[in-house]
């Protein structure tokens, strides 16, 4: 008997465990859906977590107004196929003001459209937990992010007040108005995401494959150049 189950299966199982914990302990969770590859993996994991039932929470797309039309098309078809409810939130105020990455800079534009959009939506729908597809390998500052990341009633993330995460026991307790961001893909790397998409034959927006990335052969496996 091979006891070392392939690591991707192990990561998959751990992510499913995380998603189920949230649904079992929170009243009103939501999964952020960006139409991207990480979202695609996260939605597949959610499907697996509740099979043969369907995903017991809505997906939410924070629409910045700057997505390609084929992405929106893909999104609507995909959500219909998997039988999931979709919420689309647009920060109309800022879109109207003309928030644009080239005008405000990517960071500021993102903050206005995505972050504020998300906070507004969380308040509007009273979501107490929001799944996000962020990974710890994305950048150094994320290496210390928790899987269950606590946000106060203003949606603020206080790094000094994050809860220790011991074993696989996740503290799901919050007060009224507070919320938790949950990152089921915390321990996945970008390569893991690509492998999983391939193994699971998960459809993603063709735009991902539109441009070749420069890669190097690194002693037997392939690395993308950042």
């Amino acid at each position: 008997m091979d006891n070392n189950i392939p690591y991707l299966k192990q990561l998959e199982s751990e992510s499913i465990h995380i998603i189920r914990e949230v649904v079992a302990e929170f009243k009103n969770p939501v999964m952020l859906y960006s139409i991207g590859k990480d979202s695609a993996v996260m939605v597949r994991l959610a499907q697996k977590a509740f099979f043969p039932g369907s995903i017991p929470f809505p997906l939410m797309h924070i629409d910045t107004g700057y997505k390609f039309p084929e992405m929106i098309e893909f999104r609507d078809r995909f959500v219909k196929e998997i039988g999931c409810r979709l919420i689309v939130e647009r920060n109309e105020e800022w879109i109207k003001k003309g928030a644009h990455p080239q005008k405000l800079g990517v960071d500021k534009c993102c903050a206005k459209l995505k972050t504020h959009g998300l906070l507004d939506a969380i308040r509007k729908y009273k979501f107490d937990a929001a799944f996000g597809g962020a990974r710890r390998d994305e950048e150094k500052s994320r290496a210390k992010e928790r899987i269950f990341s606590f946000r106060d009633e203003f949606g603020q993330w206080d790094p000094k007040y994050q809860r220790p995460e011991v074993w696989n026991l996740y503290n799901c307790r919050i007060n009224e108005g507070e919320s938790i961001r949950v990152f089921p893909l915390s321990n996945w790397t970008e390569m893991d995401v690509w492998y999983y998409l391939k193994i699971e034959k998960i459809p993603i927006v063709p735009i991902y494959y539109a441009q070749e990335r420069e890669v190097v052969d690194r002693g037997g496996y392939t690395r993308a150049i950042q």
């Binding site: 690591y7 991707l8 995460e165 790397t189 496996y221």
Partner: protein, 655 residues
């Protein structure tokens, strides 16, 4: 993108690195990442540029992992950082734990999921207290494998002697730890010796490199494959035809058709299917997340645990635990906390803090008995305390409002661990490891009796009834049967009174029997010693013998110190109502010590007899005895008269 065929198939090793600021931890990780080609070229270029600018020959590898300066600017606290890399053999998750601030909290977090711990020791400094502390925590958290990296070996001229002396010293210490597998490696993270490639500078070292251990350490057997444990996370009911129980198999394996039992309800059924979106499975094992369906429709909800019928965990409300405190607010004894254990959240409180480990002054006493998990605890320096502060570790007893279903942590990390949540702040304030159940003497006796009752029921023993009834015997004896239980301190006068009482009753024509500690311990109870358990068993047997005599019509005079109320209560339960007379022979300890007829008090005071009642262990005076006899101030004849009058007034003897 070119995705390799074997992608995702390799095994996963989680390890934690511990060491202080200057031990070279970041450099070691940077070295591993660089030499296994897990660093992007632009990242490497940046580090090379910094070195050139500073006019240094060697690049600072720690810059590849250390976000410290940046973190300080961002106000991010010193915390466990997770890093990822991969070789063709394995995928690795590193929990990088800083050694200086919030030390215990971080290391406990990092070690809790690790298969292996790398402990760094600076070859120049040798073994410091903290090196021992690191080993202690790794052991406490039951990390199975450990690499002791003796770093900066280049700065001691690759000295074999220095390496060897560190190895022997740490090896001596580690015998107390419960770590099965320790590999010592002389390394220079800075120069790369024995990190990824074998060094020519240490020809005397024949062992593996750090990476070799990481890639090849056998972790398959770390998984508990025997004890099937399935905490139910969520019930899936998409329609009336399907009812499945979602969860992660935390340990063990399961097959369709196997008999299972649901705890705590005890309901039984068989596994019908192991359902997943990838199809039903013919078998499943840890750590898979699956959905189980059962043959029978039974009531199961989140927090229940499905296990195999022949392999049960423990179900208890009082647990004996090792508790690591992680809250800014100190632990409050008696305060209500939430305890999250497997998929269950229950209310509980610490009702007793047994001691605290002084991890700053770990004593290095030699262990004699080899029982690792317990032995380690025994040999450590302990301090009596009434609270635990942030980063302190202690042993405590926790009471929970509902029973939890667990295994001991050293047998099962998944079902033996829990977190403590403060209901006022919702913060995770503690991490606990269960050592076992806490049982008082009373509960132990009751539990044992319950087991005995079950066995008797199981093998269908029905007591034989005598053809001669008790009523007939009592009529002929001209008195009723009874048990007169004389209790009191050694030297209170129990035996003297018993002898006189028996003689008096016999003279009156009564049918009597006398039982005392000395006569039974030479025969019926000669297999018993003086442990709590044996003393309780001794009293239980006496009670049973007294009951037999009582049923045959005798007045049974029992003379036993029987110091605990529960012991006497249990005998009382055996004897029919109205026939049990608890007679408390009252005499002050001072007088008893003065009398000391057998010289036992002196021996107890000299420490020769431990746990002697009144000296080393308590005597619980009866709360509602049938009779209190004052043997200190009243004459023996008075005492006797008092007992006989009592037996008359209660109708045992005719007036």
């Amino acid at each position: 993108m070119n995705v390799r065929k074997s992608g995702g198939q390799a095994s996963l090793l989680r390890f934690t690195t511990v060491g202080s600021v200057d031990d070279g931890k970041s450099t070691l990780i940077g070295r591993i990442l660089m030499e296994t080609n897990n660093i992007f070229d632009d990242q490497l270029d940046a580090v090379v540029k910094i070195a050139k600018r500073k006019g240094k020959e060697e690049i600072d590898l720690s810059l590849l992992t250390d976000g410290l300066a940046a973190e300080r600017e961002q106000g991010i606290t010193i915390d466990v950082a997770y890093r990822y890399f991969q070789t063709s053999k394995r995928k690795f998750i590193i929990a990088d734990t800083p050694g200086h601030v919030q030390y215990t909290r971080n290391m406990v977090t990092g070690a809790s999921t690790a298969n292996l711990a790398i402990i760094l020791i600076d070859a120049r400094k040798g073994i410091l207290e903290q090196s021992r502390r690191h080993g202690f925590i790794a052991s406490l958290l039951q990390v199975s494998h450990m690499i002791v990296a003796v770093n900066k070996i280049d700065l001691v001229d690759y000295s074999q002697e220095i390496f060897q002396s560190i190895v022997s010293e740490y090896d001596e210490y580690s015998r107390k730890l419960d770590i099965r597998d320790i590999t010592y490696i002389p390394v220079s993270a800075l120069k790369g010796d024995n990190v990824v490639t074998k060094s020519a500078n240490t020809p005397w070292y024949e062992g593996p490199t750090v990476l070799h251990v990481l890639e090849n350490v056998h972790i398959g057997s770390d998984l508990n494959l025997h004890d099937f444990r399935f905490p139910v996370q969520y019930v899936i009911r998409p329609d009336h035809n399907f009812r499945g129980y979602a969860g992660k198999i935390v340990t063990g394996r399961i097959y369709p058709g196997e008999e299972i039992v649901v705890l705590p309800s005890g309901l039984t059924s068989k596994v019908k299917t192991i359902t997943t979106m990838d199809g039903d499975l013919a078998e499943a094992g840890a750590p898979q997340s699956v959905v189980l369906t059962l043959e029978d429709e039974i009531d199961i909800s989140r927090g229940d645990m499905i296990v195999r019928r022949q392999n049960l965990p423990l179900v208890e409300k009082k647990i004996d635990v090792i508790l690591c405190w992680m809250g800014e607010e100190p632990l409050k004894i008696g305060k209500n906390y939430f305890i999250k254990h497997t998929s269950r959240v229950v209310n509980g409180f610490v009702n007793n803090l047994v001691y605290m480990f002084d991890i700053n002054t770990l004593h290095r006493t030699d262990a004699t008995e080899h029982n690792p998990f317990c032995e380690l605890l025994k040999t450590l320096h302990r301090t009596d305390v009434d609270t635990l502060m942030l980063n302190e570790i202690g042993r405590a007893e926790i009471e929970i409002t509902q029973p939890i279903i667990f295994d001991q942590y050293n047998k099962n990390r998944e079902t033996g661990s829990f977190i403590v949540i403060d209901p006022d702040t919702n913060f995770t304030v503690g991490a606990g490891m269960i050592r076992g159940a806490v049982r008082s003497i009373e509960e132990t006796i009751h539990a044992e009796r319950k087991v005995a009752d079950t066995i008797i029921k199981a093998i269908n023993i029905t007591p034989e009834k005598s053809f001669v009834s008790l009523e007939e015997r009592e009529k002929r004896n001209n008195h009723k049967s009874a048990v007169v239980w004389l209790t009191g301190l050694s030297g209170a006068g129990k035996s003297t009174i018993a002898k006189k009482l028996e003689r008096a009753l016999f003279s009156m024509g009564c049918c009597t029997a006398a039982l005392d500690g000395d006569n039974l311990r030479h025969g019926l109870c000669k297999d018993l010693g003086f442990s709590h358990k044996d003393r309780n068993e001794n009293i239980r047997r006496v009670g049973e013998v007294a009951k037999v005599f009582c049923e045959q019509g005798s007045i049974v005079i029992c003379t036993f110190i029987s110091p605990l109320r529960i012991q006497r209560e249990l005998v009382r339960e055996l004897i029919p109502d109205g026939k049990f007379f608890e007679v408390f022979i009252h005499c002050s300890l001072k007088t008893c010590v003065k009398r000391d007829p057998k010289g036992l008090y002196q021996k107890a005071i000299d420490g020769e007899i431990p746990d002697f009642t009144g000296i080393g262990s308590p005597y619980e005076e009866p709360l509602n005895p049938e009779l209190i006899i004052d043997s200190e101030h009243r004459s023996i004849d008075d005492n006797l008269k008092q007992i006989i009058e009592k037996l008359q007034s209660e109708g045992i003897l005719k007036g």
